[in-house]
Chain length 597, copies 2
């Protein structure tokens, strides 16, 4: 199994040239996000990942998380690694300083998250889940709740969870049945939750569960759902740990991947009801959850980027070292490293281009969230929020779909060795598979993009994004050489395609919602491909500019330019073909009777 | 985990309408292949698969094959299932009657193979590997070898293996080092082999290894390789079992999938050399192996089809039974089965269309092998052989790539449940992954298609296939309704694209072999998509004709027509986009220095 080295050079490039790190650092309160400081943050995170967190990825997969007498035991090495992680203050990167955070922009936090996720996807679930719970409490919790929980959670001494899913309530949370009953200023929670990541752990002193439940007199459906904070150990007003709450882990799932991550079936209230306190107001639980959705989905998109990077590094190392067959078109009959064989090279280039494009797009989406929060003018903030809302389902689904595809290509480059677990490539494939599912499947993201993000404003945000893409295409016209011209040609074709599909979907949605909806997934993929082409075009322009100014590592910058062109020719060029499934193919999707399948 | 029911109706349709079963049954010696008889063969195989072989698929995966004191122990139930399998005479389906076979056409045998592979891919390795060894011995063995081994292997009482790979010699078999030394009319074999499927087993009385090895005075490279038959237990001239040969299983690999299939590291000659006899002539071992390559690769292609079908059945059952969220565009607010949601429906239709197309193409390729053997005229046989040679790398790579994609879509339809091993969808994904690798990776198939099949005759066979495709497109013009017209439009576009890419690749190969070769994989995928469109068009025509004659199950035939149209709109429509990576994108594939990755 190959180790992991954070791709700091490419991360910096994406942050600086695509996400606009210098601009973010110029916004109020973010002067610590100055690019050189961030570079050393990434270097430091990379060291911890390389030396401590990545080395327990394979052993964690083999050993798995275990449930012993109701307590989740993490695999060997996780306690020590987690202790180092929180001692370094890494858990609090994006949070406000008054609760112990580092107050860095979300874009920076995403880059650092990518490092943890790439090093060890099971380990990375801790900061990811705790971060979601922190946000929920920060935004919607009472002063008492914030005081009781936030600083410990930001420090990572306590971890957080999200208790949404029940057997009959997955995508459709309106169907959930967990009950909450008012009792003396708090609530008693009873019910079963499934798919609860880190529902218990021996890494932290306490686990703070956020639980969706329904009050007895609540209306049916989503409006009847409230959000509760339910700690594993009760916390006294003075911060001391109190008694054990009435909740337990029933079992752990045996999963395809992220086997070191405990996915728990949780039972609340076996003995009269777990004690919880209400977050915000009754009946607004789902609304509160949705306010965190953007960050959570973006974080999972980052996991997709991370798995792509990890699989790419593993395959690259193998392709450089595995010697097999002579080189095509060479007089040398000696066997060559397989990186010299065109089809292997094509696979590696595809992995590299897809990873870099999805990284740049994810960081850009994160920076849009930052701008939506921190830009001085309200109109600018609103525009940035609209951009983030539009792009985040794309980042979530497209990056994770790609992460899995890349991991599969990584297995393929290893040939037979890829199928052997010891090699490590197969673990990346298994681990990556979950990212397309949790936090809303790729199909749910596509429905969100189409049904909410596109239809809510009848394409205004999409038109704004398309206009941005065209501005970049215009800039490409002024560049030297034929690389930028080639990229420009494919980018314009992609933008035209996206514009056509967008207009058609908006038109058709009103007439035949099922036909339009049948095109949701190809449309999301198209937008991912074209937006990926856009950020690669920005990267190519920046690389050209830096090369002209002799500013930076020429080999890296030339590679960036070539990779952007490769992306245009091999990936962006596929966008146009998706028009047919969308605009023509909707009829056959729903044409069969169910018993004709 | 959902069970498996052989899709006999679709298998029969593909055999009769695409592979031309009636025509095959009319060829000398194949009157037992009459369609109604074959239908009952498929039904019987389906029962054994459903009742006996499929039920041990999941338990076999959990338990795995184990190595105990040098003996491979198969998981529980495999001995009983295998005993029933060989008692039914299933192992000998395609072989001559004089060695105990059933003498059925290869096309029929492939359909039956699909059933075993879909039921249990680990189990299916037994007939697959033994079949390869039988063919090698049938074609190239001495009369003594045939007498000693064949009838037991055809009966399945003994199993066969293929010992090709060594750590340094995977794709490049010329690099193999296993030695064979002449000794008293036989040979002593010494060396290590890896990735040996069924290298030992407790299912059979003896294991007959076919081993590639090099004589001391042999030339370097592939011309120095000879083929030997090396039994686990020596066989006396009178057929009695003799002493244990000097070979052993060193270890079993821990794999991503097919965990009930023992993948062995084999050691030959730890104690002076395993006794083997030469197959055919010295130095022709690789040539003999290549004569079986078509059948072996086609069989693995069938495994791809099988995994697609299995995953489709599993996902279909879940989509029908899982109730979640209300139906889009319906007034009914009650939650609906997810098969009613357009994006789930799109996924199911994609799985169905891809599986049916890859099945029909694989059966057609098998029938080409049958025609190449049995047509009365030499020119017809040669044409059929050229078609088989051209299509088999496509079937191997495209069907297995699709099998894995379909298995992944199957996981996706299950949402979070898909990631839980208990559900069974994840096993199909893990199992399917190997089919893209063994018997020549998908990339190797693409190189074979381009470098051998296309370049050897400068596109003559491809032109023949394209002409066949056009004939079908012409026939579509005469059909009623707009389904056939739509299919025709997409088929013609696909054929035009394929013709352009073919001409460009043949032209470019001579000028810049690396640039041409960089397009091998997209070219293979293009040919798979277009050839799949062709067999779906044949199917649509046949369905239309049967509907007109009121001949058959109307719901099935209408579904076939709609599925063919879906294929045209959603899959065939993607072929054209692959022109750009091939014709434009070759330059960037090889443009980076190795240290720029």
């Amino acid at each position: 199994m190959t180790g992991y080295a954070a791709p700091v050079q490419d991360m910096r490039f994406a942050l600086e040239e695509v996400a606009g790190l210098a601009e973010l650092a110029g916004l109020p309160g973010w002067d610590q996000a100055e690019p050189d400081l961030i570079a050393s943050v990434l270097e430091e995170a990379g060291k911890l990942a390389r030396d401590v967190i990545a080395p327990i990825n394979r052993s964690g997969d083999i050993e798995g998380a275990r449930l012993e007498n109701g307590i989740v035991r993490m695999p060997r090495g996780f306690r020590e690694a987690y202790a180092q992680f929180i001692a370094g203050g890494w858990n609090g990167l994006p949070f406000a300083e008054d609760i112990g955070g580092q107050n860095l922009p979300w874009a920076v936090s995403c880059a650092v998250q990518e490092i943890w996720q790439a090093a060890n996807l099971s380990f990375g679930q801790y900061p990811l889940l705790t971060q979601g719970a922190i946000e929920a409490l920060s935004r919607h919790g009472s002063p008492e709740q914030k005081k009781l929980y936030l600083s410990k959670m930001v420090a990572g001494v306590w971890n957080g969870t999200m208790n949404l899913t029940e057997p009959q309530a997955g995508t459709d949370l309106g169907a959930l049945r967990t009950r909450a009953v008012r009792a003396d200023g708090h609530y008693r929670i009873t019910g079963q939750k499934i798919f609860i990541t880190n529902g218990d752990t021996d890494l932290t002193e306490n686990t703070i569960h956020l639980v969706l439940a329904r009050l007895p007199d609540a209306p049916a459906g989503v409006k009847g759902i409230s959000l509760f904070v339910v700690p594993k150990l009760m916390v006294e007003a003075d911060g001391r740990m109190g008694s054990r709450n009435d909740l337990r882990v029933v079992s752990l799932e045996h999963k395809l991947g992220i086997r070191a991550s405990p996915t728990c079936v949780m039972s609340y209230g076996d003995n009269g009801g777990a004690v919880g306190t209400l977050v915000g107001e009754e009946g607004r639980g789902l609304e509160y959850m949705f306010t965190m959705m953007n960050n959570a989905r973006l974080s999972v998109g980052i996991q997709g980027v991370a798995m792509g990077e990890r699989a790419y590094q593993q395959a690259r190392a193998y392709a450089r070292s595995r010697v097999q067959s002579r080189e095509l078109g060479s007089r040398d009959v000696a066997p060559a490293a397989i990186i010299r064989h065109p089809d292997v090279r094509r696979m590696l280039m595809t992995m590299k281009a897809q990873t870099e494009a999805s990284r740049a797009l994810a960081y850009y989406a994160a920076s849009a969230l930052d701008r939506a929060k921190a830009l001085p003018d309200a109109a600018g903030r609103a525009r940035a929020q609209a951009t983030a809302d539009l792009l985040i389902p794309v980042v979530k689904a497209w990056s994770t779909d790609l992460g899995f595809e890349i991991a599969s290509t990584g297995v393929q480059i290893h040939g037979g060795m890829g199928f052997i677990e010891e090699t490590g490539a197969a673990q990346h494939l298994r681990d990556a598979r979950i990212t397309m599912i949790y936090e809303g499947t790729s199909g749910i993201q596509a429905n969100d993009l189409l049904g909410r993000k596109l239809m809510r404003d009848k394409g205004v945000a999409a038109a704004g994004a398309i206009a941005q893409f065209r501005t970049t295409a215009d800039r490409l016209a002024t560049g030297p050489g034929d690389d930028l011209a080639t990229i420009r040609r494919h980018l314009i074709a992609g933008i035209d395609t996206l514009e056509r599909a967008t207009a058609w979907l908006i038109q058709t949605w009103g007439d035949d919602v099922r036909r339009a909806s049948a095109g949701a997934t190809p449309y999301l993929r198209m937008m991912g491909i074209v937006a990926g082409g856009w950020v690669m075009a920005i990267s190519a322009l920046a690389a050209t500019e830096r090369l002209k100014r002799r500013n930076g590592d020429a080999a890296f910058l030339e590679a960036k330019l070539i990779t952007a062109r490769f992306y245009a020719e091999h990936i962006l060029s596929q966008a146009n073909a998706l028009l047919t499934p969308i605009m023509e193919g909707g009829g056959t999707v729903m044409a069969l009777d169910e018993d004709q399948f």
